[in-house]
């Protein structure tokens, strides 16, 4: 396990892609996050993972259409806009995955009969898009001050044809991979909130990917904490 991750880092270093931000044991691409960059939404964030970049805006708790009103909790809506063209089936499916993840952590019961809208705009897609969308959505929700049970993050794993595990793959690596697995994990118990997979993999490989994602989530959460502390250090 440790061995595979080590080799993975060296491969990246050779191909000139930026290595993980925190030491050789973490093979995630470089993160960057900026919060509160839009003036109109109640909360906003842009999240970068390597060359993948997503901009998120959150509106809420706001007024809700009568047809979508839920009497005992907030209505959560997620809209994902692709970089070019109109949203298609792929976007709709991702929207649903992100919405289900958000619903698991947002304390909607505190704001019944309101709507919380998350709008995600893909700025550039260079692999691990869904994970980046999840991270951007989480940071925007935190920025908007929506009450949450826990934070969440998305981690993508790719399995090579020879069974090598890659964390946070680029678009090229995703295309060449035998299987691509994306997990959403919460910050309190590091439990799985959502998982979506594509391709062929064995039971053991799934467990291996999940363990790797859990280890990687620790880095993401540490990054969350650092970037939020920086934001609040100003006041």
């Amino acid at each position: 396990m440790e061995g595979t991750m080590q080799t993975e880092t060296t491969i990246r270093a050779e191909s000139g892609i930026e290595s993980g931000p925190r030491g050789p044991s973490c093979s995630l691409r470089h993160f960057a996050c900026e919060q509160n960059l839009l003036s109109r939404p109640d909360g906003s964030a842009s999240f970068l993972q390597g060359d993948t970049s997503v901009l998120a805006g959150v509106y809420g708790p706001a007024e809700v259409k009568v047809s979508k009103e839920i009497f005992n909790k907030a209505t959560l809506e997620v809209t994902l806009r692709p970089k070019i063209g109109l949203p298609g089936v792929a976007e709709k499916s991702r929207e649903r995955l992100i919405r289900n993840t958000c619903e698991a952590v947002v304390l909607g019961a505190l704001h019944p009969r309101t709507s919380i809208t998350v709008v995600l705009q893909v700025v550039s897609d260079a692999g691990s898009l869904l994970a980046c969308c999840l991270n951007a959505a989480c940071m925007a929700l935190v920025d908007a001050g929506v009450p949450m049970r826990a934070l969440f993050c998305g981690v993508t794993c790719a399995l090579d044809s020879d069974g090598t595990l890659l964390l946070d793959p680029t678009a090229k690596q995703e295309k060449e991979a035998r299987a691509v697995l994306t997990f959403a994990l919460d910050s309190v118990e590091r439990k799985l909130l959502m998982s979506t997979t594509k391709g062929l993999y064995s039971d053991a490989e799934l467990q291996q990917c999940l363990a790797a994602a859990q280890a990687a989530s620790q880095h993401v959460f540490r990054f969350y904490r650092e970037s939020l502390q920086r934001r609040y250090s100003k006041s």
Binding site: M1, E2, N36, D42, G43, Y59, G60, P61, A62, E63, V64, V105, L107, L110, H111, P112, R113, T114, S115, V142, D143, A144, G145, P147, M148, R149, A150, L151, D186, S187, V188, E189, R190, Q208, A211, A212, Q214, A215, Q218, Y224, R225, L228, Q229, Y232, K234, S235
Partner: protein
């Protein structure tokens, strides 16, 4: 595999509940668990040993702890739901207890009973006005809730007017209700805000900072020009000075205070005082 498991276990240990006193004025994140002073010594981290059953466990010897915005109770655990700085206020009498809350920088207002806010009248329907306060639904305001208003003597309120009022009903399950009188029936500065002036929005954190009893910004602003100013807890500020130019300068300063340090602010104020 084993290595990864160990890392996860270690990280979980790092995420264990921290004592509320130790993280005061620090940034807390949603999902964190806080320990209150009385829990610290009894069942500190790891020490969930059996405690002797006490008959008067309900009788609080240490004073009552109140959970403010951004915190919630789950059983006897105190959990954080919003990101921000943890604040604490000692109770008036005795030690221990007091109010804990999370000071976050959000923009969206959620009505709270007793808050003074600035609203915009959006509709008149029979004997109530609908007032937009920036929350999830418009607040209602009775035409009788003004100073000196009777069934004969209706207040002169038009759609589009600004109202400074107070919430008497505000909870998650009901429509919020505003009034423009206090419990004795006096206006106390509330009511329709006059013509002219400028209304603008800032974050809720800035409003709370400006309304703090020892706020320097407001004293400095007051020295600059003579002005009329109204702060709504919903993030709205109405300001009026002698000329439009002065009004705009004041609005820009207050908006900029959000991201300025005390030194930067003093520089700007001294430069403005010279010109």
């Amino acid at each position: 595999m084993a290595a990864a498991a160990a890392v996860v276990a270690e990280s979980l240990a790092g995420y264990r509940a921290r004592a509320a006193r130790a993280v005061l004025e620090q940034v807390v994140l949603p999902g964190e668990e806080l320990l209150l002073p009385e829990q610290e010594d009894g069942e500190g981290p790891g020490g969930t040993g059996e405690r002797p059953l006490r008959l008067n466990a309900g009788a609080r010897s240490r004073g009552r702890v109140v959970c403010g915005p951004g915190l919630r109770r789950c059983g006897d655990r105190l959990l954080v739901t919003k990101c921000g700085r943890l604040r604490h206020k000692e109770p008036g009498s005795g030690s221990g207890g007091g109010v804990y809350w999370v000071d976050s920088q959000q923009k969206r207002y959620v009505p709270v009973k007793g808050d003074h806010v600035i609203g915009i009248v959006t509709a008149k329907s029979g004997d109530i006005f609908k007032v937009d306060v920036g929350g999830s639904e418009p607040a209602s305001l009775s035409y009788l809730a003004f100073e000196g208003a009777t069934k004969r003597n209706r207040p002169n309120v038009q759609v589009g007017d600004l109202i400074y009022g107070q919430f008497v009903v505000a909870n998650k399950d009901m429509e919020p209700e505003m009034v423009c009188i206090d419990s004795c029936g006096r206006a106390c500065g509330m009511g329709v805000i006059g013509q002219d002036g400028l209304l603008f929005k800032v974050t809720l954190g800035l409003i709370r900072r400006l309304l703090a009893p020892d706020c320097e910004i407001l004293q400095e602003v007051g020295k600059l020009y003579p002005l009329e100013i109204v702060f709504g807890m919903n993030g709205r500020i109405w300001v009026k000075a002698k000329t439009i130019q002065q009004t705009l300068i004041l609005a820009n300063i207050l908006e900029a205070c959000e991201h300025m340090t005390a030194d930067q602010r003093k520089q700007i104020f001294s430069r403005l005082a010279e010109s």
